[in-house]
C-alpha cells in the first residue's frame, strides 16, 4: 500500500537522523591560550553532576562562556549550559527548578515574592544572590569630529529625557571646553526589549543626576525620547550607523560597533572606562544583604564621588541555593562558581567585563564555600 511506502520513507528519514548521532563531537580543542592556572589558590573539588544548567541575563553571557571554558579545563568532563534568555526568565526558571542556578541583573525581589518562592525551591533554605559578574555600561555615541566627550550624570539624564536636544547645548559644551560640538540633533537610541541594562542605567541616572531624572527606573526605558532597537546588538548597530546618535550599551558592543565611549565625571574629574576605574567602583561597593547573601547597595556605586571611579556598571548576580541541592549538584555548582571566581577571571577583560578585585573575590569565595 502506498501509505506503507510513505511510512517507510519517514522511517528512513528518522533512521538517517539517528545515524547522524553517531558522528557528532563535543571536543573543541581551544585554539587560544589556556587560562593561567597558577593563580588559583583555592582548591577546586571537581565532580558531581556533569552537565549543569543555568539561565538568565544575557549581559553576562560572554563572561559565562569564559567561565565554562575555564571550568572544562579544570574539571574535565564537566560542562555547563548557560541559556542567555533574560533575567526574568533566569529567576523564573530557577524558581521553577528548571535550572541549577539563575543569572539576574537584579537580586531576588522581596515584594514580588521571589525571595519566598526561591526559598521554597531550595527546600526551605534561603537563596543567595552572588554578584559574580560586573559589566561596565558605556554611554556610546557617534559624532563626527568628537572622539572625546565627558558627561556628568546630570547631563546624561537631560540627554536621555529630552531636556538637552542638541549636541552643542551649553550644558554639554560646559563640560567639553576643547571640543567643537556641532549643531546637530541628539538621537537617543534605547532598548526596545525589557532589559536589566535599561533598569540599571535608569537607576544610575536616578542616583547620579541630582534630580534631573524624574522618570524612575524599570526594565522599560522611560525617557520618552528617541527610538528603540532590539537588544544590545540592535542599539549598538543603530547608534553606529547614524551620526549624532547616543545610547547606553555594554562595553563590548560599543567597541565592536566602533562607538566612542563618553567619560563620566562624577564630581571629581572625567573618568575613562577602564578596568581600573571599574575595579575601583566595585571595591567601593557596600553590601546590603545579610551574611553570604551579597546583595549590593547600588547607590554606593552609582552615587560614588570618589576620584577615578567609573560608576556606570551592571552587577549580575548568580542566584543559588544556600542549601537544598542534592549532593551531586551542590558539588558541581560549588566547583563551577569557584572556578568562575578564580581562574575564570583571566580573559574576562577581553570579553568586555571587569575582573573582580581581590577583596571582593574573597567575599565571594567565602559565600561559595558555604553552599552545602
Amino acid at each position: 500500500m502506498k501509505t506503507k511506502r510513505h511510512g517507510a520513507v519517514l522511517g528512513l528519514i528518522a533512521a538517517g537522523a539517528l545515524l547522524l548521532t553517531a558522528c557528532g563531537s563535543d571536543s573543541n580543542v581551544p585554539e587560544g591560550q589556556a587560562p593561567a592556572t597558577g593563580e588559583a589558590s583555592v582548591p577546586v573539588e571537581c565532580g558531581g553532576k556533569s552537565k549543569l544548567s543555568a539561565e538568565g541575563s544575557s549581559a553576562q553571557k560572554n563572561a559565562m562562556d569564559t567561565f565554562v571554558q575555564a571550568y572544562q579545563q579544570k574539571c574535565s568532563g564537566s560542562d555547563l549550559a548557560y541559556n542567555a534568555s533574560g533575567s526574568g526568565a533566569g529567576v523564573k526558571q530557577f524558581i521553577a527548578g528548571q535550572v541549577d542556578f539563575g543569572g539576574s541583573d537584579s537580586p531576588l525581589s522581596e515584594s514580588k515574592g521571589e525571595v519566598a518562592s526561591a526559598a521554597e525551591r531550595c527546600k526551605g533554605n534561603p537563596a543567595w544572590n552572588l554578584p559574580l559578574v560586573f559589566g561596565p555600561v558605556a554611554i556610546g555615541y557617534k559624532l563626527e569630529g568628537v572622539a572625546d566627550l565627558t558627561l556628568t550624570g546630570e547631563v546624561a539624564a537631560k540627554i536621555f529625557n529630552g531636556t538637552v536636544k542638541k549636541w552643542n547645548d551649553p550644558a554639554i559644551a560646559a563640560l567639553n571646553s576643547g571640543a567643537s560640538l556641532p549643531d546637530k540633533d541628539i538621537k537617543v537610541v534605547y532598548r526596545s526589549d525589557e532589559s536589566g541594562t535599561t533598569d540599571n542605567f535608569q537607576l544610575y541616572l536616578q542616583a547620579a543626576s541630582k534630580g534631573a531624572w524624574t522618570q524612575g527606573a524599570g526594565k522599560q526605558f522611560k525617557g520618552g525620547v528617541g527610538e528603540a532597537k532590539e537588544k544590545s546588538a540592535g542599539v549598538a548597530q543603530a547608534t553606529g550607523s547614524v551620526d549624532g546618535a547616543i545610547t547606553y550599551v555594554e562595553l563590548s558592543f560599543a567597541q565592536e560597533n566602533k562607538l566612542s565611549v563618553a567619560k563620566i565625571d562624577n564630581g571629581s574629574g572625567p573618568v575613562e572606562l577602564t578596568n581600573e576605574s571599574v575595579g575601583k567602583a566595585i571595591d567601593g561597593a557596600t553590601i546590603k544583604g545579610t551574611g553570604n547573601d551579597l546583595v549590593i547597595d547600588l547607590n554606593s556605586i552609582y552615587g560614588s564621588t570618589t576620584a577615578g571611579t567609573y560608576p556606570l556598571l551592571l552587577a549580575t548576580y548568580e542566584i543559588v541555593c544556600s542549601k537544598g541541592y542534592d549532593a551531586d549538584t551542590a558539588k558541581a555548582v560549588k566547583a563551577f562558581l569557584t572556578v568562575a571566581a578564580t581562574s575564570g577571571q583571566t580573559g574576562l577583560a577581553d570579553a568586555g567585563y571587569a575582573p573582580l578585585p581581590k577583596a571582593f573575590q574573597d567575599k565571594l569565595l567565602t559565600a561559595i564555600q558555604a553552599i552545602a
Binding site: 502506498k2 510513505h6 581551544p30 544548567s53
Partner: protein
C-alpha cells in the same frame, strides 16, 4: 492529475480562420507584461536574500568541523567549532513535530472535505483551524509552557518545543490538505465508488494520491516554517552549546536558538555563526524539499 498545461500552450496559437481584435491583443499583451513584470519584481528580493545568506554563510559551512562538532568549550569570540548540536536538535524536533502533525493535519483535512460536509462539527473545526492559523508562535509557546511545564510538571525539553511546533504546523497542513482535496474532481471519486471501492480506500488510494503533490508542498512549507521558528525554542528549550541527544530532557540547541543566542555575541565569530546557521537551515530544508519531490513523484498516480 498533474496537468501539463505547457503542452497545451502550443495549441494556443490564434486560429487561422479568425483574427483576434486589437483590443484583445492589447489586453493579452498587457496581462503578459504584468505577469512577467510581477515575476521579475519578486525575483529581485528573493534572490537578494538568498544571495546575502549564501555570501555570508557559505564560507563558514565549508569547514568540515562545522558539521561534526558542537560549540562546547569555545568562547564567544573564538572562531571554529560547529553546529552539529543545533542541527541535531532542529532535525529531531522538526521530525517529531512532523510525525505528530502530519497524520493529525491530514485526517482533519480529510474529515473536513470527505466526511464533515456541512455538519456542526465540521464548521466548528474550520472555525478552530482558522483561529489556530492566527495563534502567534509566542502564544503557542506560552500555552505549551503553562500546560506541559507548569501544569504537568515536565522539564523544558526538545519535546516541549515539538509540541508547540505542532500547534503551528497543523493549521497549515489542514488548510493545504483541504484546498488540495477540494479540487480533486468528483468524477474520480464517483468512478471509484462505481467500481464498488469503499470510501476509505477511495480516499487513500484515489483522492489523496491525486492531491498528493500539493499536500506534500504544504507539508514542506509547514516544516520549513516550524524549523525556522524561534519563539517556541526561546521559551521551551534552553540553549546548550554541547550535544544533547535526549529529546525529553535537558537543554537542547537548535539552529534558530543558536542564532538568537549568537545575536548577543558582537564578535566576528558570532557573525559567522549566525549566517552559517542560516545557510545550514536552508540547506537542510532544501534537502527535505528534494526528498519530498522524489516521494511525491514516486507516489503520484501514473497518468501518462
Amino acid at each position: 492529475m498533474t496537468t501539463d498545461t505547457a503542452d497545451l500552450n502550443r495549441l494556443a496559437t490564434p486560429p487561422t480562420f479568425q483574427s483576434v481584435s486589437g483590443a484583445r491583443k492589447l489586453k493579452n499583451g498587457i496581462a503578459t507584461a504584468l505577469v512577467y513584470g510581477a515575476f521579475l519584481i519578486a525575483i529581485v528580493p528573493l534572490v537578494w536574500v538568498l544571495y546575502v545568506v549564501v555570501q555570508r554563510g557559505f564560507p563558514v559551512v565549508l569547514d568540515a568541523d562545522w558539521w561534526q562538532k558542537s560549540l562546547s568549550g569555545l568562547l564567544s569570540r573564538q572562531q571554529g567549532g560547529g553546529v552539529y548540536h543545533a542541527i541535531y536538535g532542529t532535525l529531531v524536533q522538526g521530525l517529531v513535530c512532523g510525525l505528530i502533525s502530519v497524520p493529525l493535519g491530514l485526517f482533519v483535512g480529510v474529515y473536513l472535505v470527505e466526511y464533515g460536509g456541512r455538519s456542526k462539527l465540521s464548521r466548528a473545526t474550520t472555525f478552530m483551524v482558522d483561529i489556530l492559523t492566527g495563534v502567534p508562535s509566542i502564544v503557542a509557546a506560552l500555552f505549551v509552557y503553562t500546560l506541559w511545564i507548569t501544569y504537568f510538571g515536565f522539564g523544558r525539553s526538545g519535546f516541549a518545543v515539538s509540541l508547540a511546533l505542532v500547534l503551528l504546523m497543523v493549521p497549515v497542513i489542514v488548510r493545504t490538505t483541504e484546498e488540495m482535496l477540494k479540487i480533486v474532481p468528483d468524477e474520480l471519486r464517483e468512478a471509484s465508488y462505481a467500481l464498488g471501492i469503499p470510501k476509505w480506500k477511495t480516499i487513500v488510494k484515489v483522492v489523496i494520491p491525486t492531491a498528493l503533490s500539493g499536500i506534500v508542498t504544504g507539508i514542506m512549507l509547514a516544516l520549513a516554517r516550524v524549523m525556522g521558528e524561534t519563539a517556541p525554542v526561546l521559551v521551551l528549550a534552553a540553549y546548550a552549546p554541547y550535544i544533547n541527544y535526549n529529546l525529553f530532557e535537558g537543554p537542547m540547541a537548535s539552529l534558530p536558538l543558536l542564532m538568537t543566542s549568537e545575536r548577543n555575541n558582537p564578535t566576528q565569530a558570532g557573525f559567522e555563526r549566525i549566517w552559517g546557521a542560516a545557510i545550514t537551515l536552508v540547506i537542510i530544508i532544501t534537502l527535505f524539499n528534494l526528498l519530498a519531490t522524489v516521494i511525491s513523484r514516486w507516489l503520484a498516480p501514473k497518468t501518462k
